[in-house]
Amino acid sequence: MRAALEIAGATAFSAALYWVCSRVQRALRASLLHPLLLAVLAGGILFALLPPAWLDAYLRGTAPMVWLLGPATAALALPFFRRRAVLVAHPRAAFLAVAAGCASTVLVVWGVGEAIRLPRPLLLAASLKSVTLPVALGLAELVRTQPGVTTVCVFTSGLVGSAIGPGLLDWARVRSPVARGLALGTLSHAIGTARALEEDPLAGAAGVVALTLSALLMAAGAIALSVLGT
């Protein structure tokens, strides 16, 4: 009985909070204020002020929502399947760009992170930032880092990447829509892909392919890391 109440309460609270935040974002018309960002901030501040038992009850009650992330991860197969033509047309560009983008971003995370002595869980979470969130959360568990920090890192990569990415790519004279979509999708997953889609339908399709390949490649890396047991 209590579990059912917790589930109903936590689910209703999440849905209401998200709905209010999407209305606020629409009213303010600010793309950086993503509804999820607003909702995490508002919910986080609220639960930080309330007694810890409230957050415990909320997290227990959201277990069904968290379970749904599993089937939702599987559902990512569909957008990829629908846009596989981009991969068929540009296989080398897609594979090499995604591999180079993932490798360079992880190298910079560990190079800079070790230099400034960032703790290991933060380095692991920062390494997962380019992975689409449902997959990243599964990988966070695998490499033993925290889901909350991982969520914030992934989200930062999406929001900041879609804000500065197009300007950065202009500066580097990356003009082909396919190349722009690949770069935005590899590092900024769904949010970057939405931004690429605003530029060009082909860029959006390349973004979907890149975010899927990037997730699979990073997953292979994380699985290798966990098997090697470091």
């Binding site: 929502m65 939702a72 991860t73 399947f81 983008g101 703790p119 930032k129 909350g148 991982t150 082909s176």
Partner: protein, 119 residues
């Protein structure tokens, strides 16, 4: 009718994930069950063993509510603030530097490869 079909497809996707989770736990596989379900579904679609319309509308429904599902782990950061405390600036630096590097490298490599492709 559409609603019923979407509902059945949602159940099918849930069952696929539950099956993958069972297999992962049973065999002690070092990979997230959701990822296994994703790879399996992709393989079934690419090999034409499963038509797109058999799971399409259910998958779209799940992906529409996906941002909402991120709320619990996001709010859960309240429990992890002790990890970030004192490292906020460093984490931000690492995130932005690695993001810029990754996007530039991916973009430049992709542009170079696209240019070399025969038209």
């Amino acid at each position: 009718m559409t609603l019923l079909r979407t509902g059945l497809q949602l159940v099918a996707l849930g069952a696929l994930f539950a099956l993958c989770r069972w297999a992962v736990v049973r065999a002690g596989l070092p990979l997230p069950a959701g990822l296994l379900a994703l790879v399996l579904l992709m393989t079934l679609l690419l090999l034409r063993l499963l038509p797109e319309r058999a799971v399409g509308s259910g998958a779209d429904a799940l992906l529409r509510i996906l941002p909402l599902l991120f709320l619990p782990p996001g709010i859960g950061i309240v429990r992890e603030l002790h990890l970030v405390r004192g490292h906020g600036g460093g984490l931000a630096l690492v995130l932005v530097a690695s993001l810029v590097a990754g996007q530039l490298v991916a973009g430049v490599v992709a542009q170079a490869m696209v240019r070399r492709e025969p038209r």
